[in-house]
């Protein structure tokens, strides 16, 4: 394709991306650099059904004037990024100088909201992603060797976890793991511990969320791998069979290398998806034991009476940076392979 044609060809998607991806990100960055105007407070008397009380209120006229002057608010630079509710530079420095051991330093850091969320987000990403790849591949191999009539129904059933909306799926599991739910009470029987609760202990909550993550995402990996398996060249497989390769050796030396590009693709998507884990935390009411970066953003703008747009913006930018850092090794690898093929 000529460069000119190519340009016209992708222009519509370029404009859409600019409008719906690039511009919002710019706006998020700009918002993250601002905080609200200093509130002008007046003391007044408030009365209601339960009596009167002297309380402070915001002077609306004065606030309106400030907002008209500078609609974005007060410029704050990167201070929102470095404050205690985000990267917490000062608190980390203090923790470093006051901690006697590295464990103490880590536990002090994990008491800060951002690092606590980052710890869960990273653990979740690095535990769930390999399991999803592994189980997805296993299910694909299994389904592929089923007799033809059984394939359709099996595929349908295997895809169900992915079809269920994440929030609904996690709510259903949340009720099942309740002490009176089917899974919860079975676990109590098995471990002979009437007080066992998957919702109460931080460790068990983490495990539960990750098991849910694997359950929810494996079908995606499975369906991609299954599609890939249909393209494995049968003459190579037959040749390997004639050479006496076992089923395991054929999988290892023929099937897996053939599916490598797909594996990279799933890895990429899963790293991105898992890094922004969110719904299960809401569905499982797990916020006391596990929070993620996305959850912090949600909490900033919709969980409470107040909305913190600057804070949410800062966390969003940090999330974007986090995802980029995660993806760089995978992208470099893909780029190298692409170049090798071209040459």
């Amino acid at each position: 394709m000529k460069n000119r044609n190519f340009f016209w060809f992708i222009l519509p998607s370029l404009i859409t991306m600019l409008l719906f991806i690039a511009l919002p990100i710019v706006s998020v960055v700009v918002q993250s650099l601002h905080i609200e105007h200093e509130a002008v407070l007046n003391e007044v008397e408030n009365c209601g059904p339960f009596g009167c009380k002297k309380e402070l209120i915001i002077n609306v006229d004065e606030t309106k004037r400030l907002k008209l002057e500078k609609p974005l608010g007060e410029f704050n630079g990167f201070k929102t990024y470095t404050n205690r509710n985000h990267l917490a530079f000062e608190e980390i420095k203090l923790a470093w100088s006051q901690s006697e051991s590295i464990t103490q330093f880590i536990s002090t850091s994990l008491n800060l909201p951002f690092y606590r969320a980052l710890a869960f987000t990273l653990t979740y990403t690095f535990v769930v992603t390999p399991f999803v790849l592994f189980f997805g591949f296993l299910i694909a191999l299994g389904v592929n060797s089923l007799p033809k009539q059984m394939k359709g129904p099996t595929i349908f059933v295997s895809l169900l976890p992915m079809i269920v909306t994440p929030l609904i799926g996690s709510l259903i599991l949340f009720w099942m793991i309740d002490a009176q739910g089917i899974i919860g009470s079975i676990l109590q029987r098995i471990f002979d511990d009437p007080n066992l609760s998957l919702k109460a202990s931080p460790t068990l909550t983490w495990i539960m969320l990750m098991v849910y993550g694997v359950w929810h995402s494996s079908p995606f990996a499975f369906i991609v791998f299954y599609a890939g398996l249909q393209t494995v060249p049968s003459d190579t497989i037959e040749a390997a069979m004639i050479d006496g390769a076992t089923r395991w050796e054929r999988t290892k030396y023929v099937v897996l290398p053939h599916l490598m590009p797909l594996t990279i693709f799933i890895l990429l998507i899963q790293l991105m998806d898992n890094f922004r884990v969110f719904e299960p935390i809401v569905g499982f009411s797990a916020q006391a034991n596990a929070t993620s970066l996305s959850w912090i953003i949600y909490n900033d703008i919709s969980n409470n009476e107040d909305q913190f747009f600057g804070s949410a913006g800062a966390t969003s930018v940090l999330t974007i940076i986090g995802i980029s850092v995660l993806l760089i090794p995978v992208l470099i690898r893909t780029w190298r392979e692409f170049n090798r093929k071209v040459v």
């Binding site: 200093e38 309380e55 209120i57 915001i58 009476e305």
Partner: protein, 411 residues
Amino acid sequence: MFLKTITFAGAFALLGSSAIADCGISGGNVSILSNDFPAIQAVTAEAAKCAGNGVKVEANLTKDHKDIMVAALTANPSQYSSVIVSNSTLVTLMNDGLVRSLDDLVAEHGAGLNKSQLITVNGKVMAVAFMANAQHLFTRTDMLDKAGVSNIPGTYEEVIAAAEAIRSAGLMEYPVALNTKAGWNLGEEFVNMYMGTGADLFKAGTAEVSVNNDHGVATLNMLKSLVGYSNPDFLTYDSNATQAEWEAGNLALATMWGSRGSAVLDGEGSVDGVSSNTTLSAAPKWGNGARPASTLWWDGIGISTNVSDEDAEATFIALMNGISSDMVKANNDAAVWLVEGYKPSPASAGVSETAANGAAPYPMLPFMGTLHGALGGEISDFLQGAESAEQALADVEAAYTTAAKEKGFLK
């Protein structure tokens, strides 16, 4: 919520043709945004009867009203002519000047109102309250009898003693529940308990928080002793969960919202013997505190700034109709109404007693929501035994101060 709007619209269409509404509105658009529970459904349904004759009435009842109200009322003209507000949401709207003073409307159309219904800020009426709510004690008297406890507990120390008696009698392992779901609910429990000490949450006249003190430590310790008798899942318990546990007969002593009272007492959805043995009473006191460990809430009418005066007047009249004595008589047990004609019932006993014992109203301070959020997020570590009370309170203070700076409340 969409369905509800549709149903209302359908109802209006019918009304429009059959009956001519007699609210005395000459015309205008009435659109109401509010939370969603039975008492408010009754109010909006009654207000909807004013539709017809050039008057349109719409209502959007949704649990997520808090998330959309600021954006919806900032638009000019505003998306809704009225929001059903409470202590806390009124402040959020006033912070941006989104609700208007009701002085003229009350003077003209508010003849039947009690003076105590008027929410005045700096002498101006900003909202008209119609119902009260508070968290207070629910007790299973049969369980107390079996455990040999003669009186309904009046203090949290007595609640703990009764819980211990129930546990050691082998009746229930976890007899106590509070709405302790991490987040807003847990923050509310802290505020309630702290109010019982008689101390203030902020340094007088400033936005500086003052919970990091002996009162705060005592409050946290009291909460921890109580959740010691709660199911280990307590950090996932919101109002729906505690009501379900109560109706399932798994609880004997719980602090729940007054608005759950009639639902618990009606016997529907309850295990046999639960409703008939449930007694609602005042929120307990504790320590040497003089006032109950609870906060009083009201729900009321606020009218948008950014609507025409005609629409504002139509809305006010329609909602006055919505909170009329007739509506209250028809829905007496749905809430603790502040309106003339309300007859106290067993379902309202808890809220009335809590108010009579001198509980404090939930503070109407611009920065209260910010503190509430910080509390809800930071104290669960302490309740799980992962950190000390002092550390938890230091975390609350730090989280609040950082957030309040972003909001411009602190320099």
